[in-house]
């Protein structure tokens, strides 16, 4: 407050100044000294007298009962001022209100307001101050008072008191309702987000969170120690394998003999294939990827060559988009001049397991209609009309799907498979359960099967490289395993010696 008074240009700063300071609190008597009473306007003198008399009634011990002569004369000399009986209610209203200190000393003269505005009579519509009685609520009731509801109600009251300013309803009050929700602004209710939990419950929550976090946390794997000899070792192994496979092929060697002992699976395959009648229809499923053509093509050529010797009617189908390409390549290798009359491409069979089931239930829905009108597929309307089904695959899943979906529809007709060595562990159980009637697995079976009909077929040409490569790989695995064992033993021994010292 002192700073505000100091900044005001109208307020003198000297300690001897007798003029009241702005926002100074206290009664007019204490604020206005008696010697300055003559300088005050006449209308203010009357008001101060009335206020002084009111104060005297409230605090009889502090103020004298009778006014001074100067005050009485000043009051009489105020013609425009209201009589003392009319001034009492005004003074009561002033002092009955619980005004703050800074507002109690706030007078119109402090703000240089014109006298006429300060002396303006009250509006007739204004409520009588005596009607407004201050609420005397206990403190705990005031604390429970719904503030939001009060604010909303007050706003609604303001809306209801809206006076129309335009149109034919100008001058009427609260005629049109205010649009609901348009001007009604209400603070959102706040809710506490603190859970009422005790320490034990918090510990249990933390324990549960740790359990869940431990389930999803990946186990940290220590970084692998790089071995400086790793890259040279890789080059050395690659060079050994390349040389071992390249030299026999380049030399055209026939060093290693082909085994003559065939297993039950290959014997069943050969006997079933031999039992196919001349000119019988055969379904050939080409389901291997081009990457495995080096292993699968020699085997497939051996089997198809036997079927072609019997003039079997070959129908090729594939569940792989590249299967059609591999089938055409296979036939081009077997029949370079394209002289074989009875073969047809049914193409790609989409849909995976569902596609196989559709084909097994009704083969005529696959491929072009013209294919089924050809001599190769004449008389075939069901899967069981094929004399044999031969599946060429490198993937165990593809072979399993054909067993599961198509084998029941063959109704006793043989299902044979030519498979890659990597698919054997997963597909051999189907041969043991007699769901597959014959198996040819890898180059090993291919060499045995081929030598029954060809003395120097494609499998035989690669046989030396295959055997030498397998021998070298097995040797490298054994040597690597022994090296790892010895290294681990030496490391453990060194650790024990360090512990002993």
């Amino acid at each position: 407050m002192a700073s505000l008074g100091a900044e005001s240009p109208a307020a003198p700063s000297g300690p001897e100044s007798q003029t009241p300071q702005a926002f100074e609190t206290g009664s007019l008597d204490t604020i206005l000294p008696p010697e300055n009473a003559a300088e005050t306007p006449s209308w203010l003198t009357g008001i101060s007298a009335a206020m002084s008399s009111a104060l005297a009634e409230e605090t009889p011990g502090e103020r004298p009962q009778q006014p001074t002569a100067e005050e009485t004369s000043a009051a009489e000399s105020l013609p425009d001022a209201a009589p003392s009986t009319e001034a009492e209610p005004a003074s009561d209203a002033v002092f009955s209100m619980d005004m703050p200190d800074w507002l109690a000393g706030f007078t119109p003269s402090d703000l240089n307001m014109p006298p006429e505005s300060a002396a303006r009579p009250a509006s007739p519509a204004a409520p009588n101050p005596e009607d407004i009685s201050p609420a005397s609520l206990p403190s705990w009731v005031q604390a429970l008072r719904p503030v939001e509801a009060v604010i909303a109600a007050a706003e609604e009251d303001d809306f209801e008191q809206t006076v129309e300013k335009e149109g034919p309803l100008a001058g009427f009050r609260a005629v049109l309702p205010v649009a609901a929700g348009l001007l009604k602004i209400q603070r959102p209710k706040t809710y506490s987000n603190k859970l009422d939990v005790d320490n034990a419950q918090q510990e249990q929550v933390a324990l549960l969170e740790n359990l869940l976090a431990a389930e999803t946390r990946a186990r940290e794997i220590p970084p692998r120690q790089k071995n400086s000899a790793e890259r040279p070792l890789r080059w050395a192994i690659a060079a050994i394998l390349l040389l071992v496979t390249l030299i026999p092929l380049a030399l055209g060697s026939r060093w290693t003999p082909i085994p003559s002992l065939a297993g039950a699976d290959l014997n069943a395959f050969a006997s079933t294939l031999a039992s196919v009648e001349n000119g019988a229809p055969a379904l050939i499923v080409v389901d291997y990827q081009p990457a495995f053509a080096g292993e699968m093509e020699p085997l497939a050529q051996s089997a198809l060559r036997e079927l072609m010797k019997k003039q079997a009617r070959l129908a090729f189908v594939s569940t792989s988009p590249t299967g059609s390409l591999m089938a055409e390549r296979l036939m081009a290798q077997l029949d370079a001049q394209n002289n074989y009359p009875t073969s047809v491409q049914l193409g790609y069979l989409p849909g995976g397991a569902a596609g196989i089931q559709v084909f097994a239930s009704d083969p005529t829905r696959v491929g072009r209609g013209s294919s089924w009108k050809s001599a190769t597929l004449s008389g075939i309307t069901h899967l069981e009309d094929f004399a044999v089904a031969l599946v060429l695959t490198d993937a165990p899943d593809e072979g399993r799907l054909w067993v599961e979906q198509a084998a029941p529809e063959l109704r006793g007709k043989p299902l044979l498979m030519v498979i890659s060595a990597q698919a054997e562990p997963m597909l051999r159980p189907y041969f043991d359960s007699h769901q597959i009637q014959g198996l040819m697995v890898g180059l090993n079976h291919g060499a045995i099967f081929e030598q029954q009909f060809l003395s120097d077929g494609p499998v035989r040409q690669a046989w030396d490289s295959f055997n030498l490569g397998l021998l070298v790989m097995e040797t490298l695995i054994v040597v690597g395993g022994l090296w790892a064992l010895i290294a681990a033993w030496l490391e453990k021994r060194a650790a024990e010696q360090e512990g002993a010292y």
């Binding site: 890259r231 890789r234 080059w235 690659a238 394998l241 390349l242 496979t245 390249l246 092929l249 380049a250 990457a291 495995f292 053509a293 080096g294 292993e295 988009p321 590249t322 059609s324 390409l325 193409g347 790609y348 989409p350 995976g352 397991a353 569902a354 089931q357 072009r368 490198d394 399993r400 799907l401 067993v403 599961e404 979906q405 084998a407 029941p408 890659s420 060595a421 990597q422 698919a423 054997e424 562990p425 159980p429 043991d432 359960s433 007699h434 769901q435 890898g442 180059l443 040409q461 690669a462 490289s465 295959f466 490569g469 397998l470 790989m473």
Partner: protein, 222 residues
């Protein structure tokens, strides 16, 4: 001058074989070029095959040349295909959900039915048949019984290894049976690894044979 097709394919095969073998010195741009070419060629070929053999042969051509009944039936997959295209847009992907649900449902039904009737039941029946003591069994009991016991032991011990249970009364797990199952699993993985190794060696031999054949052709052509 006309370049023979075999010579051209041989040169390309030789070059791409060297590009792939360059991975021996580590990942390098030459290897990546070869991989990108293979992936691009495969994707392009698959797209052409599907467009011709599925969309043209099985949908568009029957819609144009087929009978009224065939056309009416083909409207269903055509509508489903159009709805499935909605999956391309986040705004319309909800259109493709019923189609995807249909595909997943049909695929699951076919796969589960096939696995149950084509694998589980026949394999269980074949394993039980090894214990058949009747005269209907063509194989002698001395041959089938050890095999049956071996299969039963391997199956049960493998299942015991994958069983996560609480400790028994003595505070220990049945370790011996679990170790036996672990041994069976390790042997199985070893067999699978040997099969993959053999197949990879066959692919390597095929590549080497192609290189030898190419150089033979190159030398003879010169």
């Amino acid at each position: 001058m006309q370049i023979p097709t075999e010579l051209l394919t041989g040169i390309l095969g030789f070059v791409f074989t060297l590009l792939v073998f360059s991975y021996l010195i580590g990942d390098n741009p030459l290897f990546r070029v070869a991989v990108h070419v293979f992936v691009g060629l495969s994707a392009g070929y698959v797209a052409v095959v599907i467009w011709q053999q599925v969309i043209i042969n099985k949908l568009i051509e029957p819609l144009i040349n087929g009978g009224w009944q065939e056309r009416a039936l083909l409207l269903i997959p055509l509508l489903m295909s159009v709805l499935l295209l909605g999956k391309l847009s986040p705004r319309y992907q909800v259109w493709g959900r019923p189609v995807v649900a249909y595909l997943v449902g049909v695929g699951a039904a076919v796969a589960i039915g096939g696995a149950l009737m084509g694998t589980l039941l026949p394999q269980a029946q074949a394993s039980l048949a090894l214990f058949d003591l009747s005269a209907a069994n063509p194989r002698p009991l001395t041959e089938t019984l050890p095999e049956a016991v071996f299969i039963l032991l391997g199956t049960l011990s493998t299942l015991a290894y994958f069983q996560f249970s609480t400790l028994n009364k003595s505070g220990k797990r049945p370790l011996l049976f679990s170790i036996l199952g672990q041994t069976f699993i390790a042997i199985t993985f070893g067999v699978l690894f040997a099969g993959a190794l053999t197949a990879s060696l066959s692919a390597l031999i095929d590549r080497m044979a192609a290189l030898v054949q190419f150089f033979d052709l190159l030398l003879f052509s010169l």
